[in-house]
Each structure stands twice: as structure tokens, then as C-alpha cells.
């Protein structure tokens, strides 16, 4: 990729802004509340990320070095659900149209084996990856639910069959169809997609595969809430983004099948992370297995996701402490939203704070903004019901 002069021109201002704000964050009280237009800006930016690729998939994100990135099949899959939810909320058809167009693009790039390729669509297609397939499965199920178009359910069935076919006997996915070849606890989010597919299509194989994976994930949890195998790369520590994937997969699977162990597991890890958020006033991107912070930057994606996880846990349990934690996490994540006059920087959430943190450095990934928008909509729903 070639550097983008326009993006590079903005780099100093963004970096200096983050550097200048850091001491004030430590000295001043947390900012609560959501700035007006935050949700709308986030969703409009997701639409812009779609336009930026010529209405193929949603761009992987905006880089302060390279500008708009190539379309990213995996995250385009779950951006679909965000746009459909916002379309229902706002009544504006254009968001549904973006979602439909993204879903159709996913249909066009679905591999013959039923899976979805890993990475960005740039050059030749790559092998299908379990997690990426699961995330697009969510998008097709959302589209089928919203539009009733059977093409999406057919594609979802093929994706489900792929996932069942490549799953190991112990319920994990590993090998050539797993990211970096290793099994991941965050595939609980794939299991959630398979349970949704089973509900919609009556496919028992998908349900069995999901439950088998969830058993494997539950067995990875330590007594202190830590999850083994939650990291993206061998030897790395899991970040809050991966932890949030795992917790969301578990709690949503509980919501479908009613297994209390899944809910308890999500609550156990959440209790630890909520305490960290209170004591540290934010969530460092990574912790070690004793929950000692191991990063000096915030993975804002994970923060926005965890806010959503806690709001959903509040909906499921009625425990207002979870509402409290969810509001704090979402408010803090939203306070990092970029609002500049330059359209690619009006609405997105950075990967890290400060922007040079190790998670998606100098980038605004589309999934960070997707999770911010999801959590802002959840926030509205929760507060409307209090």
C-alpha cells in the first residue's frame, strides 16, 4: 500500500492532540454522558467506510498513514447488523440499503467451501477462516431476519456446514482454518452465530457444534475469570477486544439456550474487569493471567465492546451494578470518538488511546466504530427501560 498524503497530513494534529489530552485525563474527573450526534456520526462513518471501497465491503478502516483500507469481509459481516439496527431505530432506508449491499458483496465472495476468507480482500482470495465465517454468518442471519430474503439463509447454511465440517472433535477450531492455526476462546462468538442459525433453520448440526465449542470455551476459564487460548497470536496476551468477544459469545449463547454456566462464566470475568475499570479508571488493553495490567494504552474497541457486554448482562440479570459499569465503559469509549471536519475522521473510534498504542496503531478500524454504535444503541435501550 502507498501512503496517503491527506491522511499523513492529519497525523501530527491527531498525535499531538492525544499527547496533550493524556495529562488532563489523569487529573480531571471522568467525563460522563454522550456528546450529541455521537451515534449518528458513528453510523454515518460506517456508511462512508462502505462508500470508500466503491460499495463492496466496509473498508477495514481509516489509517493515518495509508488512508482508507481495502474491504474486510469479516467485520463487514457484523457491521451489517449495526446498520440494520440503526435503520430500524431511525426509519431511514439508506442504512438498510448499505446493509443489503454489504450482504450481497459477502454472497459474492463466499468461498466454494462455504467459508469466508481471512484478512482483507486485496488480490487473490485466501483460505476460509472459522471466525471470519462466523462473523459473516451473523450478518446474513440479520439480513434474513430483516428482509426475509432466502439467499441470505442459504448462504448462512453453507457457512454453518463449513464450520461444522472443519471443527475438531473437542469443539475447538484449529489448523489451517483457524487464525494463526491455534484455537481461540473468542470463537464463542462463532458458537453464538451457529446457535442463531440453528434457531432460524432448525439445523441440529449447527446447534451441536456450537454447544461443543462452548463447552470447550468454558473449560478454558480459570477460577479467577482468566481465559486460556483467548489470544490472537501464539505467546501473546489476550486484549480486552478478544475478552469481550468471548464474553459476548457466552452471554448471547446463554440467552438462546439458557445454560446458566455460560452466564456465570461471563459474569465471573466481568466482575474482575469491572473492578479494574473502577480502580484504574480505565481498562488497559491487556492483562496477564493474574489480571495484572500489561499495557500502557487502552484498546478502545475492547472498552466499547465490554460496555455493551455489561449492558447486555444487565438486561439478562437486572443487576444495576452492570448497568453502572456498562454506562461508564460506553461513556469513556465514546469520549474517544473522533469528531473532525474531515469526513474520514468524523465519527470513528480509534483502535487505541493514545492513537499510537499497539492495538491498530494510527488507525480507526471499522469494527471499533461498529461496537461503539452497538453499545450506544444498547445504552439507549437500557436507559429507556430503567
Amino acid at each position: 500500500m502507498r501512503p496517503s498524503a491527506r491522511a499523513l497530513g492529519l497525523l501530527p494534529a491527531v498525535v499531538l492532540g492525544d499527547a496533550a489530552r493524556a495529562p488532563f485525563r489523569r487529573l480531571l474527573p471522568p467525563r460522563y454522558g454522550i456528546a450529541p450526534g455521537s451515534l449518528e456520526a458513528a453510523v454515518d462513518w460506517l456508511c462512508l467506510s462502505h462508500e470508500a471501497t466503491g460499495r463492496r465491503g466496509s473498508s477495514k478502516g481509516f489509517s493515518l498513514v495509508f488512508g482508507w483500507e481495502a474491504p474486510y469481509p469479516e467485520t463487514t459481516g457484523y457491521v451489517i447488523g449495526t446498520l440494520l439496527a440503526y435503520a430500524s431505530r431511525s426509519g431511514a432506508e439508506r442504512y438498510r440499503e448499505h446493509a443489503r449491499s454489504m450482504g450481497d458483496w459477502e454472497l459474492a465472495i463466499q468461498s466454494e467451501d462455504g467459508g469466508i476468507m481471512g484478512g482483507q480482500l486485496r488480490g487473490a482470495p485466501k483460505p476460509s477462516i472459522d471466525f471470519n465465517t462466523g462473523m459473516v454468518l451473523h450478518g446474513w442471519l440479520d439480513l434474513h431476519e430483516a428482509l426475509g430474503d432466502e439467499r441470505y439463509l442459504d448462504a448462512a447454511r453453507r457457512a454453518g456446514h463449513f464450520l461444522v465440517r472443519v471443527q475438531d472433535r473437542d469443539g475447538a477450531w484449529r489448523g489451517s482454518h483457524a487464525y494463526r492455526g491455534i484455537p481461540h476462546a473468542y470463537n464463542a462468538r462463532v458458537a453464538w452465530a451457529l446457535l442463531r442459525l440453528a434457531e432460524r433453520s432448525g439445523d441440529d448440526g449447527s446447534r451441536s457444534a456450537a454447544l461443543s465449542n462452548l463447552d470447550w470455551v468454558l473449560a478454558r476459564q480459570h477460577d479467577n475469570g482468566w481465559f486460556e487460548s483467548c489470544e490472537f497470536k501464539p505467546g501473546a496476551l489476550p486484549n480486552t477486544h478478544a475478552l469481550a468477544y468471548t464474553l459476548r459469545g457466552l452471554l448471547e449463547s446463554h440467552a438462546i439456550v439458557g445454560d446458566a454456566a455460560m452466564l456465570e462464566a461471563a459474569l465471573k470475568t466481568s466482575e474482575v474487569l469491572i473492578r479494574k475499570l473502577e480502580v484504574l479508571e480505565t481498562l488497559p488493553a491487556t492483562f496477564d493471567r493474574d489480571w495484572t495490567p500489561r499495557a500502557s494504552y487502552i484498546c478502545v474497541t475492547g472498552l466499547a465492546q465490554l460496555g455493551g457486554v455489561w449492558l447486555r448482562l444487565y438486561e439478562l440479570t437486572g443487576d444495576a451494578r452492570l448497568l453502572n459499569a456498562g454506562l461508564k465503559a460506553v461513556d469513556q469509549a465514546a469520549s474517544f470518538q473522533s469528531r473532525r471536519r474531515f469526513a474520514p475522521l468524523d465519527g470513528p473510534l480509534p483502535g487505541s488511546v493514545p492513537i499510537w498504542g499497539r492495538y491498530a496503531p494510527l488507525q480507526y478500524p471499522n469494527w471499533a466504530t461498529k461496537f461503539l454504535a452497538d453499545s450506544l444503541m444498547l445504552r439507549e435501550r437500557c436507559l429507556a427501560a430503567v
Binding site: 487529573l27 480531571l28 474527573p29 460522563y32 454522558g33 469491572i274 473492578r275 473502577e278 444495576a320 451494578r321 448497568l323 453502572n324 459499569a325 454506562l327 461508564k328 461513556d331 436507559l383 430503567v386
Partner: protein, 254 residues
């Protein structure tokens, strides 16, 4: 009997209930001393900024000019010095000098009156232990904003006095008092009544410990949860409940 009160921010520590407690202890012949953390101007300025942001200077002026808060004699530390009560100032309770001060004071009992988290090294010094007044009924409501959380959940509010252990509000309970929510109450009024109850309960606990008649009840921690500072939106729901006449009618599950 020697009792040490631990508090913080000596220049602005002017809550009336603390002086009432200290006066009552002196009146009963208790050998009293004060140990403060966060004693420097910088500590207090930083804490004020962290709590109230750029509104901190205005709030400080308002607090010091309100008779109910400041009292005729100003801060507790200033009052204590005038009474001849030893006052020790430190930056942090975890500092070596703070532990040395505490050892030199050789307390039988320590009372926390709005203190930072006390490190285990300090907790080990007083012969009879350390007591903390917690504005919530234990074991159900541990942690921050326990009054607000109790009201949110339609539970009774009150004050518990407990021995301090390394956990948060997990030590044995020696006294508790429920506080009735009255028509027209808001959180500030309730807080003042909690403070007066805290002074009463601590005073009584010191007396019963000195007399050897204290009864401490271990908490069943499974019956409670840790609570944290309330988000303003949730707190707004509590204030609305109070305005609508919340009574804390539902009985505690203890």
C-alpha cells in the same frame, strides 16, 4: 486508652461529625491523636480537581463558607491542635514515615473517619484493631455509594461499624443503625444523618471495646456484593426516587 483517628486532607477536613466524635472521645478521657494522609497542598489540589474538575475552587470556597460544614473552629486538624491533640501529617498511608508515626503513637484502637485504603502494615499496629463506619448495611452493600445503591434497590439504608481487614468492608460488624428516609429527604440530607449516626456508633463502639463488652459478628460475604461509584445517570434515578418519596421499605435479606 489511646485512639488514633485516621483522616485525609487536613486543611479542608471540616465535617462537623468528626469534631463531635473527637470531642466526645476527649470528654470520656480517651487519649486521642490524629493521623492524616494527603496532607500537602498539591495532594489536596489534585484530589479536588479529580473530584470536581474545574469547579473545584468554587466548591472549596463554598464549603469553607458554609457554617454547617466548616463550623466555628475550621478544620478538625486545627481544632485538634488547639485542644493539644497530637496531629501527624503524611503524604500517603503507605509511606514508611506514616507507619513510624503510627508505631510511635502506639494506639490501642484506630478509627477511620474518611480515610484512604489503609495498608496491612498499618492495620497490624493497633492492639485492639481498626474500626470503619460504612454508610451501608452490611453484608449486603459493600463498597462505594452504598446508600444510593440501597435506595436504587428499595432496600433499607443505614450505617455499619466494622473492624477493618484487608478486604473492602468485609470485617466483623460491631454496630449498625438503620436510618429512616423522611419525606423531603435528598442525598445530602441523608448523608448528614449518616454522618451523625457514624459518630454515635463509633463513640459507642469505643466505649464497649474499652469495657470489654463488644460483640463482633462475622459477615456472610455471600449475602453481599461490592458496589462502585454510581454513574450520574443511575444516581439521577436515585434522586428521582427520593423526590417521589422512596422509603427503603423492602426488608434487607440479612
Amino acid at each position: 486508652m489511646r485512639v488514633v483517628l485516621i483522616s485525609r486532607y487536613p486543611r479542608v477536613d471540616a465535617a462537623g461529625w468528626k469534631r463531635e466524635l473527637a470531642q466526645s472521645l476527649l470528654d470520656r478521657g480517651i487519649d486521642l491523636a490524629l493521623l492524616y494522609s494527603r496532607s500537602s497542598m498539591a495532594d489536596q489540589a489534585r484530589a479536588g480537581l479529580k473530584e470536581f474538575g474545574l469547579d473545584a475552587p468554587r466548591r472549596l470556597i463554598a464549603a469553607r463558607s458554609t457554617p454547617a460544614q466548616a463550623g466555628p473552629t475550621g478544620s478538625l486538624a486545627a481544632w485538634a491542635r488547639r485542644q493539644g491533640v497530637p496531629v501527624r501529617l503524611h503524604r500517603r498511608l503507605g509511606d514508611r514515615e506514616a507507619a513510624e508515626s503510627m508505631r510511635a503513637l502506639a494506639p490501642d484502637l484506630v478509627l477511620l473517619t474518611g480515610a484512604d485504603i489503609v495498608p496491612a502494615t498499618l492495620l497490624a499496629i493497633p492492639r485492639l484493631g481498626t474500626l470503619n463506619p460504612h454508610y451501608g448495611l452490611l453484608p449486603r452493600y459493600r463498597g462505594m455509594n452504598a446508600t444510593e445503591w440501597s435506595i436504587y434497590n428499595d432496600d433499607p439504608v443505614g450505617v455499619s461499624v466494622h473492624f477493618v481487614t484487608p478486604g473492602i468492608d468485609t470485617g466483623d460488624v460491631v454496630a449498625e443503625e438503620r436510618i429512616e428516609i423522611l419525606p423531603g429527604d435528598d442525598l445530602e440530607r441523608l448523608r448528614l444523618r449518616h454522618q451523625r449516626a457514624a459518630a454515635r456508633l463509633l463513640d459507642g463502639a469505643v466505649e464497649s471495646i474499652a469495657a470489654g463488652t463488644v460483640s463482633a459478628v462475622a459477615q456472610d460475604l455471600s449475602k453481599g456484593r461490592q458496589h462502585y461509584r454510581m454513574h450520574p445517570v443511575v444516581r439521577g434515578r436515585v434522586e428521582a426516587k427520593l423526590a417521589a418519596g422512596a422509603s427503603g421499605a423492602r426488608d434487607s435479606s440479612r
